[in-house]
């Protein structure tokens, strides 16, 4: 299922652990969606001197965390901001399609940690992390609306999305 690179980072993850004296941290995810990730940064003159992570999640989530710490270490903040979920997935020689969201989580955590550092430095209130998982329906009266899971069009009264197969409760 996973590439050799993913398994390597999963087996021997780099930069694991809580960093007590971190300059900033980024925390994303929740156990409801399956993964949680925290990235810790130690920064000197806008360069990431040290980085570590803690992750609750599947094999891909752990490998992504490990890889992103390796990619960000020693980089300037501006360089680190350019690390994207795609570049992490590429560095890991690809991820299964249904695990791509794990790489989003890694990049999100890193960018959030950098943002927290910059906010702190500029004296701004730190941003509250939010990850929206729930899709909210806008117009209950409309003839057509979208499946909350796959965004396919649903005709009124349909209790099962014919595109993704999920049951849509609030249509009843």
């Amino acid at each position: 299922m996973y590439s050799e690179k993913v398994m390597d980072h999963f087996r021997t993850p780099r930069n694991v652990g809580e960093m007590k004296d971190a300059d900033a941290k980024g925390e994303v995810g929740n156990p409801i969606c399956g993964d949680m990730m925290t990235i810790y940064l130690k920064i000197e003159e806008d360069v990431i001197k040290d980085i570590s992570f803690l992750t609750f999640g599947c094999g891909a989530a752990i490998a992504v965390s490990s890889m992103i710490t390796e990619m960000a270490k020693g980089k300037t903040l501006e360089e680190a901001k350019k690390i994207t979920n795609r570049s992490v997935a590429e560095a890991l020689e690809g991820l299964p399609k249904n695990k791509l969201h794990c790489s989003n989580l890694g990049a999100d955590a890193l960018h959030m940690a950098i943002k927290a550092y910059e906010d702190k430095k500029a004296g701004r209130e730190p941003m509250v992390p939010l990850r929206m998982e729930k899709h909210v329906h806008q117009d209950k009266e409309a003839e057509k609306c979208q499946c909350p899971y796959c965004d396919a069009d649903l005709s009124k009264g349909l209790v099962v999305c014919t595109n993704c197969g999920r049951e849509v409760d609030h249509h009843e």
Binding site: P13, C33, F53, L54, F56, L158, V160, G165
Partner: protein, 389 residues
């Protein structure tokens, strides 16, 4: 070191006598049981023998009450959709439980598209349905109650006999998905009082791709597959005779060895539960302490996630199953574990360990000590564990 399969609910090895019978069936090159000549007769004899053996396993009164299918999934689909089709003028309401297998859930999902309504009854902390809840859920237009015999994730066995008493009184057809029970624990359709019962050969060391549906004589049901008159007009299509022969031999062995297999499994289960106590901290054993399958242990390991535990055990040459459904877009924790009160994080960290006749005591010990190391490694990188300390 040899790979250790402790995920036997997914696949277990064919018994040697099953292999021999199937190879013999391949070599003999039986004809089509429907043919009006001697090849057909020979094939028909083999089919009848297998049917009698399988009927004996579930103690049905007549062999022809057993219909061979392509496995548990087809049996369940046939039972639910077949009853819905044959009774649609009578009513469009079905009662089920919150912890059914996807074969049941998705069959019901299909029926919902055709205006059937479904009431799902809750379970207690052990995963047991209360028969009174079933009685309350049954309405005038209820045509079917479908409740599983034992649960594939937590092993809890339902009070099927008590539920059957309810459905009998209310004159509603009762189907039980007994895929994880038949061949593992005694299942007697007459004693239980069910109208329909689904089961599968690969749960008792028979081949995959073949199963059975018990249909009590007189039950109103429509075929799922339309075509010829095979299987007493209930399931069209030329029979998978090689698989069916294998299933018959496996059923025969299950009847003979039921008692010793159960004793063996119970001994291993007890050993595993003790070993987990010795080696692990912060875990929950799921399912009913007594009314449960002897060959299954479900354990929720706190602060870590199931797939990563599975992967690390696989690296050490041990196969177990996980119930963290980390797949296909939106991630969902197991509905069974949420129904018995596990929270999302604990549900994600759940392992299902299943064993069988080939499992030895030292295999259990090897799992427990390996699991200890794996859990320690994963907790060292878990933000949930760090917060809990």
């Amino acid at each position: 070191m040899e790979f250790l399969n402790l995920d036997q609910i997914s696949a277990n090895p064919l018994l040697p006598e099953v292999q021999d019978a199937m190879i013999e069936a391949v070599r003999r090159n039986y004809g089509n049981p429907s043919s009006p000549h001697r090849l057909g007769d020979e094939a028909n004899d083999a089919l009848s023998l297998a049917r009698s053996r399988v009927a004996c396993l579930v103690n049905s009164a007549l062999p022809k009450e057993v219909v061979f299918t392509s496995g548990g999934t087809e049996s369940v689909n046939h039972a639910i959709k077949g009853v819905a089709a044959a009774n649609w003028e009578k009513g469009r309401h079905i009662v089920t439980s919150n912890i059914e297998h996807n074969a049941v859930l998705r069959s019901l999902r299909t029926l919902k598209m055709f205006d059937y309504k479904v009431t799902s009854v809750p379970v207690d902390e052990y995963g047991r349905v209360n028969p009174d809840d079933v009685a309350k859920a049954v309405r005038d237009d209820t045509i079917l109650v479908t409740i599983m015999h034992s649960n594939n994730e937590i092993g809890t066995i339902q009070p099927i006999k008590e539920i059957a008493a309810v459905t009998k009184k209310k004159k509603v057809i009762f189907h039980s998905d007994a895929v994880t029970s038949v061949g593992v624990v005694p299942v007697d359709v007459q004693e239980l009082g069910v109208d329909l019962l689904s089961f599968s050969a690969n749960q008792f060391y028979g081949p995959g791709g073949v199963g059975g549906l018990y249909i009590k004589r007189g039950t109103r049901i429509w075929p799922l597959l339309d075509g010829g008159v095979q299987e007493n007009n209930k399931r069209a299509g030329t029979e998978n005779l090689i698989g069916i022969v294998g299933m018959g031999v496996a059923a025969d062995a299950a009847v003979g060895d039921m008692k010793s297999r159960m004793e063996h499994s119970l001994k291993l289960k007890k050993r595993l539960l003790n070993a987990l106590n010795d080696h692990l901290t912060d875990f929950i054993i799921n399912g009913h302490p007594e009314q449960a399958l002897p060959n299954l242990v479900s354990v929720s390991v706190k602060y870590i996630e199931g797939e990563s535990i599975c992967l690390m055990l696989d690296e050490e040459g041990i196969g177990v199953s996980t119930r963290s459904a980390c797949a296909a877009g939106a991630l969902q924790a197991s509905h069974v574990l949420l129904s018995i009160g596990r929270d999302f994080a604990d549900a994600q960290g759940t392992l299902v360990i299943t064993f069988g006749v080939h499992t030895k005591e030292q295999d259990i010990d090897r799992l427990a000590s390996t699991l200890k190391t794996v859990v320690e490694n994963l907790r060292a990188m878990s933000p949930l564990y760090a917060k809990a300390q």
